[in-house]
């Protein structure tokens, strides 16, 4: 079983992924929650569900969850962590096959902070 966690900003206590999710329409939130819950129970994560984002430089390994819903491509961004854990770092919407660079940059920065302080997470 996989465990999903939201990254928490250490200083402000802000939960950026949850902020992004709650700003979406209720039906989109449901589609994303349904997919995340479904992935929780699945051993295998095929490429079609979750794939390494190939646009990052250096050692960052940002994973994008691919969730199409009502013709919108939702892309929760996160990273794998030990013990079958997945840390949700940021959320984005892909347009014209591109995720906004600012969202990727946020995810990369939060990944670094998480690696420095792995306790800055909460249950999704």
């Amino acid at each position: 079983m996989w465990h999903f966690y939201d990254y928490i900003e250490p200083q402000s206590g802000r939960n950026p992924f949850d902020d992004w999710l709650r700003a979406l329409p209720a039906d989109a939130q449901a589609a994303i929650d349904a997919r995340i819950l479904h992935r929780t129970g699945m051993q295998k994560w095929p490429e079609k569900w979750a794939s390494l984002y190939k646009g990052t430089k250096g050692t960052s390994k940002i994973i994008e969850l691919r969730i199409p819903w009502n013709k919108v491509q939702y892309r929760p961004l996160g990273m794998y962590a030990p013990n079958h854990s997945f840390i949700l770092l940021e959320g984005a919407i892909e347009k014209s096959n591109k995720i906004p660079q600012s969202r990727i940059d946020n995810a990369v920065q939060r990944q670094k902070r998480f690696e420095e302080n792995p306790s800055c997470v909460t249950e999704h």
Partner: protein, 177 residues
């Protein structure tokens, strides 16, 4: 870091309080499960998409599309063909949200995988029940055993004795070798 099922259930139940949310959750959950199951059952059986397509009387390209994560246009007709190809039951019915929450919160690879009839078992019945065609459902509940049919004695089961009639095979079958 740990996460428990009760916490998942509580959070989901709270969110389901929103009508738009719960309608969408149901709509999203169906393809999530079906897409994962079709691919899982096919791979467990060691079949290619083409082999599944042949068994289901469909085109390989349709199986490929159905296994794509964004497919959400399943029809009952298609699902019945796929179920027959896998030789598994197909459950289509309305249910309470509490059941959905239980299912989603405890989802596991074991729940997704389904044995075909040949590998399936029914608790309390050791021998596989193979029923001759043309018999009414209640009367077909007899073992496909080469030995002559013998009515089971349920007298020791108290109130259940009244169901004996269900299991009584037609006389033509009772004497069939």
């Amino acid at each position: 870091m740990s996460q428990n099922i009760d916490s998942i259930k509580q959070k989901l139940w709270k969110k389901l309080g929103d009508k738009a949310y719960r309608d969408a959750f149901v709509a999203a959950q169906i393809p999530n499960t079906l897409v994962a199951q079709i691919e899982t059952l096919r791979e467990q059986r060691g079949w290619t998409q083409k082999e599944l397509a042949e068994k289901a009387g469909m085109l390989q390209s349709r199986i490929s599309v159905m296994e794509s994560q964004s497919y959400d246009k399943f029809t009952l007709s298609t699902l019945k063909k796929i179920a027959a190809a896998f030789d598994v039951n197909l459950v289509v019915r309305f249910g309470p949200f509490s059941e959905l929450v239980e299912w989603v919160a405890s989802l596991s690879p074991e729940q997704i995988s389904v044995p075909s009839f040949g590998q399936d078992t029914l608790a309390g019945i050791e021998q596989k029940q193979v029923l001759p065609d043309g018999y009414p459902a209640k009367q077909r509940l007899v073992a496909a055993d080469p030995r002559p049919y013998q009515e089971t004695d349920y007298s020791g089961l108290g109130g259940l004795g009244s169901i004996q009639g269900w299991f009584k095979a037609p006389s033509s079958y009772a004497t069939h070798q």
